[in-house]
Subunit: 294 residues, 4 copies
């Protein structure tokens, strides 16, 4: 991977499970092929992968299978955030050893230590890891543009900032104003404002992996300056799904897994616990929408 | 342990580290003896132990050494909260196998699934674990008294509710009104309002482990009805320390480890990263206060 | 108003200002006629009216002109929330004297006094006010379903609960389960999930007032059981606008006022300070979307 | 007032009410004399005055009586924050006309407009008001040090920053590092960390007005370098009261009013609604503590 620019559509892979909750690696491989065939620019393993519900051994397996299946065709990003610096370093070394092309990290902490506690993590990573790093600004651990700037000036290996603090549109603007000359700004909110973020300087987005062909098409229209074509496709396919996926708790996992199941990419739409339950009304709403598309 | 009532003073053990951040088990053993000698009614391994900065192997080792050292003299409580239900079950089984006397769990989640997602965890635990459970209400994952009641009616093995949502005094009152006939209510805030919580129905507290003799003395005065004696001791020794320990981020780790180091109980006051840094002014403030007492 | 059921589409009137920020009452009258002609089932003066930027005299004038213009054709709801109980009572009496048909109140407080401090307010209102009350559950002062139930059992004059805590869909479900036999549940989020809320028991919504004919049409389709027709109209017109209106800070004021200005209903789209600024990119985005519709 | 430096002890006056909730101006005058006699360096009318429960006419009366009673002996600070810029300007002009020596303002808003929306307010104030301004950083509307710096560079009339975001000690440090050369940094938390804040550059604090002689004494000891004497007095008198006053909701109003009533300064300890109720246990706790001192 000589040109790691982290631009474009970098879907986060869901983790496919079987009906008993075990990882289904065949489905994972199919999912990866499906996304690469759609033209994505990278793939990620992160919160959208229910990564925090995987054991350490499972994380390793998922990354290993992903790297082997991808086989260098696109960069693979691995989230190695952890509430302890030692653990984050250990996860990061492991990710590098297993072949990840970049790390994605947010200032995770159970205690109030502030985003700048990441400086210590980045210093320690220097001894062991050579991969570029994508900073993450998540609602559970927000980082303002001023703090990102301080981190970047300290840790030059930082390659991108992934925005997730809501609303993401002005947050992208603030990041672009402060750090765009040093970092790639990546949009958030599952792509729900990808066109607006693009206009303000975002140069990538990390959506779920259930509709990669639509995201790639919207992206290419944006690059080509065809905003109105991008918008029609976005509204029809992407926004209708994202709106449903945001209506309650973490039902986004269920919605995107059900899409992939219906499209024949994964064998089962199982979501690991804890997750909100899908009652009959909600399931009917999902079915009705998916009937339109797939 | 036939009488697991979780009443009284149940300090959370800090994890002693050496100067390089490795676990110092000799210090851990001394710390346990120090607390038992002071008359504590139980010991816990939890957030105050920096448990979230320990690897899985380290968690096991800390629990194993603790159980062996305690050797049945008081009950040992192990926090087995995890963001995935499978992981929490796995940690809980492991804790039971290693000899813990009770589990402490809060509704940890990176995604909005609500406190009632714990019902599923408790159902699954039934298949593998027979230990009593202490529910935790923490600021990062608050549970209201109505939700606690629903959980308890569902999962009868729940033995206690540990309150940490600030301010804890009215939260103890609300819990006592809703669930005191079924659960022991345990106070929070590092014991900073232990007398007020006691008056409202709390029957235990889980402070740091650096001043166990003072906490036990206050507790015994409360049981004996000597509130004013309890108050003088509390104000002089406990509140002065707790006030300092609350003045910035997570400096409580540093303050309590420095007390234990100064008292000759642990060899080093090292706190694992991430943690807020202690500048020269703060260190002088810690030194000045500790000079008064130790 | 013999049948105050607070069902259906009850838009919140924006307050039209002239270019200097003074209230434009001619535009207000036109806005009211425009909404009544569209078939709305009620009209409200509330947060969507920038009510908190109006002086007391201006509030009175806006309500007076609204009541006179409406002239009994639909019920008029007035928000009389205030951080002091005396002030809320005074605003409520004034609203009743000026002819409002119902009050809308949320547990506003600068200090942590809890939703049940509303009980005292409701008791005091009994001495002076006979109007029905719509409780509001807003993000700045959320009320859970259990607390709403306690309030309703105490204050039988409560007629409805307006949900605004995000996400609103499960909040509507919780309210419907706890209090639907006593209260009308009204959906929130500017109508962005009005179809989903309806399915879960909501019997009204209070959107902005810029597209009343579309909201009424969707509502009527829902009542007639034509969900798919409702959905097409909703997605095309309402959701596209609401999505834009949510992308940054409080730009919803600007978006809806610009729609009304473009449609010839109000003379000026001025929003009072403080409000987020609309930069050139955002203005172009608004223009592009409105060009499609109006 | 030629030397408005806003340094030292500037208590916030409670608003004394009679048993029916009307303002008791005789008690207010006594309260002012009591504080001036204690040597305070200024007096304020703000959140601690329940200002948000006063009608506009009552605010005017309180300020008028305060200015007349103070009669230039110390500066009088008036909080004129409001959710609308026009209202804040109007309140500020009125405060200047009535003789206030400074304004205190925080970025109050019901909608997400950000602290920098204050720039517009400050620009508009320039046309009407010549008073210096104390910025407020409150939990309900926090301002980071970077934002304060931007505001101060824009609005040179800003004279001080009052810190209230918890924990205040590191927030004082951040403010001192960013803006101490331009602004006086004033500590918060009702003075609970006044010694620690002083060490980090705070040059004043705004406590409640029930123990002014103790605050002044602590302050003078700090200025004289007698920190340990300051500490003993602080722990004995101030911290014991502040700890009790923080144990539940807004009981600080009740605690400080009861102190003043017991000391014979005000005729009644009435707190306006909404406020949390004081149950029998809490009242006994207040009585027991006050019996020690007064």
């Amino acid at each position: 991977m000589s040109q790691l620019n982290f631009q474009g559509i970098i879907p986060i892979l869901i983790t496919p499970f079987d009906a008993k909750g075990g990882i289904d690696f065949d489905s994972l491989q199919q999912l990866i092929e499906f996304n690469i065939a759609a033209g994505v620019h990278g793939l990620g393993i992160a919160l959208g992968s229910e990564i925090f519900k995987l054991s350490d051994a499972e994380r390793d397996q998922v990354l290993k299978v992903t790297v082997e299946t991808v086989n260098g065709r696109v960069p693979v990003v691995m989230n190695t955030s952890a509430p302890g610096t030692d653990i984050a370093v250990s996860l990061s070394r492991r990710a590098q050893d297993l072949g990840a092309d970049a790390l994605m990290i947010y200032p995770m902490s159970f205690m109030p230590t502030g985003p700048e506690s990441m400086l210590d993590l980045f210093d320690r990573l220097d001894a062991f890891v050579t991969l570029p790093i994508i900073l993450q600004d998540v609602p559970q651990a927000p980082i303002g543009a001023d703090a990102v700037r301080r981190i970047v000036l300290h840790a030059s290996r930082t390659a991108a900032i992934k925005v997730e603090t809501l609303p993401t549109v002005p947050q992208v603007s603030r990041m672009a104003a402060k750090v765009a000359e040093k970092l790639t700004v990546i949009g958030g909110a599952g792509g729900s404002y990808m066109i607006e973020e693009f206009r303000r300087g975002a140069r990538g987005t990390m959506p779920f992996c259930s509709q990669p062909e639509d995201f790639v098409a919207v992206w290419n229209h944006l690059l080509d300056g065809n905003e109105s074509t991008a918008r029609v496709l976005f509204d029809d396919k992407i926004m209708a799904i994202n709106r449903l996926a945001a209506q309650d708790g973490d039902i986004f996992y269920h919605v995107h897994k059900q899409i992939l199941h219906r499209r024949g990419i994964i064998a089962n739409a199982y979501v690991r616990s804890p997750t909100c339950s899908i009652d009959a009304i909600t399931q009917r709403e999902i079915d009705t929408l998916l009937d339109q598309f797939y």
